[in-house]
């Protein structure tokens, strides 16, 4: 039999069956508890909140991707860079600087930090195995964590850059009680989108961006055509520092600037597993899937398991994806010939 015809026939047969099964499943769920499973407005509300939350995770994941892409290092210190950037910015605001000026000064501090990391930590380790560089980033994590708090104190600090946190209710005529969307999350999503667009332009259309991509593809080949690896590393760590600053501002405004901010790196890990360590679109799509998945799981499956499942559910979701795409959704497929 013609395989195309067979495939077409199967689709014709399976699709209505699948739709019927889904419909029956939902109807069954509705019979169990209509208020829980069939409040579509609520479902969409949780989904939107999850997607917006996912953008926040993507902001952190982007920093990891940038450094991994350019150097093959998993930067364990990304979380503490987020904390350090946020602490520094709050410190400058407390000194009396307007937040915009504080942002610029902090960005400069993050660039200086990147240069220092390249000079003091990375340069002496060139050509060392990646695991050594990874261990070095663990050292950077603890140093930044302690140094930031020694410099700016351990108190919980307020970072307010004037973004409204008021709830917005939309689609009141469509759904009972409407859809609640947090205005802060909307702004955060917008910031994330602008950042990604900026990074895409930077990587695609600038000379430095092309050099970065060349280094990412093959260190040796890039060096052989005269691309300075050390400069590229300094640039990429600087960009990752500024991405950390943006993530620090958004997360710091949301949860206060405090030690725990460094732990949000843990929320970026499932995003990276899912999206791939080398893909900027992967960080975004991965963030959206993890954000939406964990929020829906917490709300709709959480009660079955006693709640507080979102953290491990995010990892489980990422691992399930890995079963089918070991390199992540957008990661580069590694084919090694023997």
């Amino acid at each position: 039999m013609n395989p195309t015809a067979l495939r077409f026939g199967l689709w014709l047969l399976v699709t209505p069956l699948l739709i019927a099964a889904l419909g029956l499943g939902f109807k069954g769920l509705a019979a169990v508890d209509s208020s829980l499973f069939f409040a579509w407005g609520y479902f969409i509300e949780v989904l939107i909140a999850g997607l917006l939350q996912g953008v926040m995770y993507s902001l952190v994941a982007l920093g990891f991707v940038l450094i991994f892409k350019a150097s093959g290092i998993f930067n364990f210190a990304q979380g503490s860079m987020v904390l350090f950037a946020a602490l520094t910015m709050v410190g400058f605001i407390e000194m009396g600087l307007h937040w915009t000026l504080a942002f610029v000064v902090t960005a400069a501090v993050m660039v200086l930090l990147a240069l220092a990391i390249e000079r003091v930590v990375l340069r002496p380790l060139v050509n060392q195995p990646h695991i050594i560089l990874f261990m070095a980033t663990i050292g950077i994590f603890y140093f930044l964590d302690g140094f930031g708090q020694t410099l700016w104190g351990s108190d919980v600090k307020v970072l307010d850059i004037g973004i409204s946190k008021a709830p917005i209710i939309v689609a009141e005529g469509v759904f009972e009680n409407g859809l609640l969307i947090n205005s802060f999350d909307l702004v955060a999503a917008l910031v994330g989108a602008v950042l990604v667009a900026g990074l895409a332009v930077f990587f695609q259309y600038t000379r430095v961006g092309r050099a970065l991509r060349a280094v990412a593809d093959d260190h040796q080949a890039a060096l052989s055509v005269g691309i300075p690896l050390k400069t590229i590393w300094a640039i990429v760590w600087s960009v990752a520092g500024i991405v950390a600053l943006v993530a620090g501002i958004m997360w710091g405004s949301k949860a206060g600037v405090q030690f725990s901010l460094a732990l949000i790196a843990l929320k970026a890990l499932p995003v990276l597993i899912l999206g791939g360590f080398t893909s900027i679109p992967g960080a975004i799509v991965g963030g959206l899937i993890i954000g939406a998945g964990e929020q829906l799981a917490e709300v709709f499956l959480g009660p079955i398991f006693g709640g507080a499942i979102q953290d491990w559910f995010a990892y489980m979701l990422a691992l399930v994806f890995l079963l089918f795409r070991p390199q992540g959704l957008f990661g580069e497929k590694i084919i090694e010939r023997i």
Binding site: A39, V156, A255, G256, S260, L263, V299
Partner: protein
């Protein structure tokens, strides 16, 4: 070779002299260990408590000690981590240790058996294992002035008052947002019992450590369950995101009540204006107007000996550290009346705890009149009255919005405590002691 031997001998001699000097000093002083946390995710809340605790003993030492016996205080950083808590305990335990302050329910759980075997009192002030209020089963654990079960009952009592009586609780919804740990789970049994008794529905929502991200929890509370009141058993980093997310779903702040560990300046300040109206329990005063706190300012901070910044004196958690230290000092004082005015053993100070009678007159002489309620402890009852009050954040200060509320101890909580203690005794093979 000769030089090496000489060097080793000199080192040995120096070590012996140091050890002798240490023993001589330690023997004259009453040792107080402190299991605090100045690092880790919960450090912002642990630090002011630790500073208040330390400053109080510095103040007492500046005034000549307790009946002339100086306090030797040593701290160990647990980072709010159970393993490190046990490690700190093992490092600091010694026969002359007055009392252990674990500052963590998890660490308290881990230390109950060890401290009991070592005969060192554990003061889990407003936290820890509620069942340990039964002194017949837990002779070395003290839960004064209130336990989580008392806290849960007080919150429901306050809600009932606001709803016009317990009879109006029928059909109401009360939610609990809690830190998913031994600490956060403590009030659940009481709230379930109260729900059954008064006819309200109870909705628990766990939040995973450290609690930075609570969007899903608050969508359920604010948009699905829509409880009439919400209680919170949060700690440290968990509290301010909870307040912010509650505001983000439009939950009314004046119907949101935290336990006393969810009601400090550190919890509300990061939430800014969104936290205005938020309530919490407390069992001591805030501010610096109390004579004992004034003594800390003049004798410790003005002398340049303050443990932390001067401006944190009088804040909720600083004052809680002061209260914790004051209770230990009072137990030492009481024990000295029974066993002599010298450094005492943990076992002797346990006697002091069990004979604590901090009445109004005693509070006056301690410089803490109006700061806390009177406390009477007995061999069988290690909690006391269990009273607390509700305070509300107005944007810059905590203001009391209720009188002292007494939990229903005799009618509800004490039988539950005795049952839980009996279960523990059966599980561990403990024969409860007689308290007459």
């Amino acid at each position: 070779m000769k030089l090496k031997a000489l060097g080793l001998a000199a080192l040995g001699a120096a070590a012996m002299v140091t050890a002798t000097a240490f023993t001589a000093t330690a023997a004259d002083k009453q040792f107080v260990p402190g299991l605090m946390y100045r690092s880790g995710p919960y450090a912002p809340n642990g630090i002011p408590f630790a500073n208040g605790f330390s400053d109080y003993f510095k103040m007492r030492n500046a005034k000549g000690g307790i009946n002339g016996v100086e306090i030797e205080y040593e701290e160990c950083d647990t980072a709010y981590n159970n393993d490190r808590g046990v490690e700190c305990y093992e490092r600091l335990k010694r026969p002359g240790a007055a009392a252990i302050t674990p500052l963590s329910t998890g660490i308290t759980y881990a230390l109950i058996d060890r401290a009991t075997a070592d005969k060192i009192p554990v003061l889990s002030m407003g936290y820890g294992r509620t069942a340990a209020s039964d002194g017949t089963v837990f002779p070395y654990v003290f839960t004064l002035p209130a336990t989580y079960w008392s806290g849960a009952d007080i919150i429901v009592n306050y809600i009932a008052k606001n709803e016009g009586g317990y009879e109006n609780l029928k059909g109401k919804k009360i939610a609990l947002v809690y830190h998913d740990s031994a600490y956060g789970k403590e009030p659940i049994a009481t709230l379930e019992a109260l729900a059954e008794k008064h006819g309200f529905s109870f909705h628990p929502f766990p939040v995973a450590h450290p609690g930075l991200e609570q969007k899903a929890t608050w969508l359920q509370i604010g948009r699905q369950v829509r409880p009439d009141w919400t209680a919170m058993w949060g700690w440290g980093v968990m509290n301010s995101p909870a307040i912010k997310e509650a505001a983000a779903v439009g939950y009314p702040m004046d119907r949101f009540i935290g336990i006393w560990w969810s009601g400090s300046e550190q919890d509300v300040t990061p939430a800014g204006a969104q936290a205005v109206g938020y309530k919490s329990l407390n069992f001591h005063g805030t501010g610096t107007e109390y004579p004992a706190i004034q003594d800390i300012l003049t004798l410790v901070h003005d002398a340049g000996n303050g443990t932390g910044p001067r401006e944190e004196v009088g804040t909720v958690l600083y004052n809680r550290g002061v209260m914790n230290a004051a209770v230990i000092a009072e137990a030492i004082h009481t024990a000295q009346g029974m066993h002599g005015q010298t450094p005492l053993t943990g076992e002797q100070i346990r006697d002091g705890f069990e004979a604590l009678n901090i009445d109004e007159a005693r509070l006056e002489s301690m410089g803490l009149a109006g700061f806390m309620e009177s406390i009477q402890i007995t061999c069988a009852d290690h909690e006391g009255t269990g009273r607390a009050f509700v305070q509300q954040w107005d944007g810059s200060n905590w203001t009391p919005v209720s009188d002292w509320v007494e939990p229903n101890r005799s009618g509800l909580l004490r039988p539950m405590i005795e049952q839980a203690a009996a279960d523990y005794a059966a599980e561990k093979g403990i024969t409860p002691r007689a308290c007459n």
